[in-house]
Symmetry: C2
Subunit: 136 residues, 2 copies
Amino acid sequence: MLSKKTKYGLKALTYLASVDSKEPIQIAEIAKHENISQKFLESILLSLRRNGFLGSKKGKGGGYYLIKDPSEILMTTVMRVLEGPIAMVPCVSLNFYEKCDDCPDEHECSVHKLMLQVRDSALEVYRSNTLADLLE
Amino acid sequence: MLSKKTKYGLKALTYLASVDSKEPIQIAEIAKHENISQKFLESILLSLRRNGFLGSKKGKGGGYYLIKDPSEILMTTVMRVLEGPIAMVPCVSLNFYEKCDDCPDEHECSVHKLMLQVRDSALEVYRSNTLADLLE
DNA sequence: CCATTACCCTATCGTTTTTATAGATTTTAA
DNA sequence: TTAAAATCTATAAAAACGATAGGGTAATGG
């Protein structure tokens, strides 16, 4: 299951991209427009800022804004920041690899074999989609 | 993340297919061979039986056995029974559809759009793999 | 009858997710 | 300089879920 964090994060990014304004957009506006808990969204936007997707401005007239062009924001990086590993099992993860403690040999493991294919197919989707692609 | 239930279930199915015996295999043997908690495996095998993948025999010499040929066991059906929906979001699920309560219109939703592609790509993998394919 | 093994129900523990609460800090506008 | 508007920070509560254990019941074979 996709976490709400990721879902809300994607929606917020999409909204910011659709508004296409250089002016910062306030959290409250995004939350209202996307039916999201404002406080929850607050922490999501914060992590998106820390990871280089968003810029922010404090005080009156402040808010969040996209730092890069939507066509340069790949879904692979967004997903990894919001959702974590793209692989369904750590032993097939490119960026979050971890050995299974119950598996003596990965190369003999049927689960490994299947999940490798699933990872690759998901990766291809994320790689071929930017934020701009989700807009229209 | 893939749940351990699914992981263990797949491993158990693979083991039963690899043994290729008409004789029932005991839970304890599967659990030991795959390093799985026996009690947990118990409930997993039970649900696999209830869903038509396995047969069982009680008492001395009892155990579980495959009811169909491994080449006829599609990963789509296995995954749906063990893991649930293949889609990451209910609003793009074929077998477990549910409307999002925060989304006024699915067709306008960027998350929907992306997750539709992810679902289709995963589906293609699961459809093209049977239990027999995981064996070798 | 007795040992073995699957079946079934329930409780528990731990983790993660989601949301809520409360305030601190920074910036801007007047 | 002051007040308001907004982001930032920390905490924790609540809910959901995952994984596992315990103990008893039912069937089966010898």
